[in-house]
Amino acid sequence: MAELSADRTSGSGTKETDRSERPAPRKPGNRYVENVRKHWMLYVMILPGILFYIIFKYIPLAGSVIAFQNFQIFNGIFGSPWVGLDNFKFIFTYDDFYNVLRNTALIALYQLVFGFPAPIILALLFNEVRLMLAKRTLQSLFYLPHFLSWVVVGGVVFELLSNQGFVNAIREWFGYGPILYMQESRFFRTIVVISAIWKEVGWGTIIYLAAISSIDPSQYEAAVVDGANKWKQVIYITLPALFPTILILFLLNIGNFLELGFDQMFNLLTPMTYSVGDIIETYVYRAGVLQGQYSVTTAIGVFQSVIGFTLLWIFNRLARKSEQGLW
């Protein structure tokens, strides 16, 4: 963005010499018209992209207004009656919603507490591996699950934890009876958090490893001279250097706090675990897409976005006090 203004000022500096044949000073509003005329090809190129973002991002975003309507598919957005906050009032009187909200918030919290630090810790451990070949091999293995679909990962999880699965084989080996992990609600959230960490922890290290590699080595050398051991180097040099990256990723994360990922939950959930694992996205899918309660489920979606944005706003304010925020 800084480049743009720099470009503009340098452009106005050369304007007199370049376009001296044009005596009348241009009105500022015409700048855009002239830019289109001169670089029309750029506008032609970007047109499909802009249409894509309007149709598939901004129109659905604007379509969120059906949360304030009693949306009827045959009357459309313009023919459906407005009902104010009725849909929001409805969801807050609805027991199912509280259950779904509690599940979503709890799993989101666990994901944040356990899932967010995991790649930071793994990156620090990777950083201590001195053998380049070992480091690269280990990293390749850790990155692999990121590329598998949640259908595959879900299938793997179900197989490993099934009655005759691998985990129960180990239990039997130690003389314990089998446990049907996927059918019992008490294990569900743990399985969700662990499988998410398993899939994404390696991939998550990439950005931290890059931040670590940009730390000036002379800092560590100085610390060694001062007698700092490895642990102190991590605490006083590596972590502070990582802090801005951690903060930005945390803020991006908190903005989507209640969005846990449809694919994972849909593929791990069974009717037996709805009580602990039914989250906003799976509920909205069933009640909205399958049963056609469009307005109520959109209200839930809007509520979800408002929570996300409020959290982002709060934490961004906090972040600005110490370091820098997203804006």
Binding site: L4, N35, L42, L61, S64, L141, G155, V156, G165, A210
Partner: protein, 289 residues
């Protein structure tokens, strides 16, 4: 300086932990692979670990003869190839103007695009929009609504912005227009980054699931992941025989294992190429202005 005892111990434990953890990344897949080549009795009696027990190709023979699975495989190959090509074309066309300083509305467009990363439209309005466009039960619903990935777009744009300005100055003197600069000068210079982003898109299309759940109801149009899901939920359909009437060299456990591996093999095959490029690509995308 010699490492202290504490450091040596830490190093040892660190290696041990990382090796064990890395093994868990691969072992579940190897376990399923072993299961898929084991006899049904061995598979159900918890004897199989990482090596097939009572080796048989029964499950694989049965899975590979499943016409429905191949049909879904074909559909996924189709949307992966067509989708990746279209995604690349439109991402490149969008990224180029956004990388040009003379494109006056650049910062506004860029802001509007990045904003969609924070403000996601709720599922239902998105669903209704795509349905209004007549894409229900159309394979286009798996391609068009996700045509441009913002993260991938940013990667390409960042790369274009890093190309030396002198390149297109000289091209312009030779009378090249923007289309020719993009396709004849920029693209040949960005093969590596294009390979990265293509692979990101291809993996995305290969694994596409949520949009298929939303928009594809016709079983004949199921992409592979959805077919896999439906077989995992009801493996009897995959077996298509009555297990109690006869002695088969497969059962639902070995069939499920084989189907999961079947859907994963293409990813595993491209993974070596994938990982040659992706780290660089993933980093480029994060270096936003």
């Amino acid at each position: 300086m010699k490492p202290t005892i504490g450091e040596k111990t830490f190093q040892a434990f660190n290696y041990l932990f990382l090796i064990v953890a890395a093994a868990t990344m691969l072992m579940p897949l190897l376990h399923l692979l072993a299961m898929s080549f084991s006899s049904p009795i061995a598979a159900d009696s918890k004897e199989v670990f990482l090596w097939p027990v009572e080796f048989t190709t029964g499950a694989w023979t049965h899975v590979l003869q499943n016409a429905g699975l191949w049909r879904s495989f074909g559909i996924t190959v189709y949307i992966t190839v067509v989708g990746t090509a279209l995604s690349m074309l439109f991402s490149i066309l969008t990224a180029y103007p956004l990388s040009r300083k003379e494109f006056l509305i650049r910062k506004y467009v860029m802001f509007a695009i990045v904003l969609t990363m924070i403000f996601n439209a709720p599922m239902i309005p998105f669903f209704l929009t795509v349905r209004e466009l007549g894409m229900m039960n159309s394979l286009w619903a798996l391609i068009i609504p996700g045509l441009i990935g913002t993260f991938n777009l940013v990667i390409i744009r960042t790369f274009f912005m890093g190309l030396p300005k002198e390149l297109d100055d000289s091209a312009r003197i030779d009378g090249c227009n923007d289309f020719r600069i993009l396709f004849q000068i920029y693209l040949p210079l960005s093969k590596a980054v294009m390979a990265t982003v293509s692979l990101f898109y291809a993996v995305g299309y290969w694994n596409t699931f949520q949009r298929a759940v939303l928009f594809i109801r016709d079983q004949d149009l199921y992409p592979l992941q959805m077919k896999l899901r439906s077989y995992l939920v009801s493996p009897e359909e995959l077996a298509a025989v009555n297990m109690f009437l006869g002695d088969y060299d497969f059962n639902t456990t070995t069939l499920k294992a084989a189907t999961i591996i079947f859907a994963t093999v293409p990813i595993i095959l491209v993974y070596p190429y994938l990982q040659k490029y992706f780290v660089k690509g993933a980093l480029l995308g994060s270096l936003k202005e």
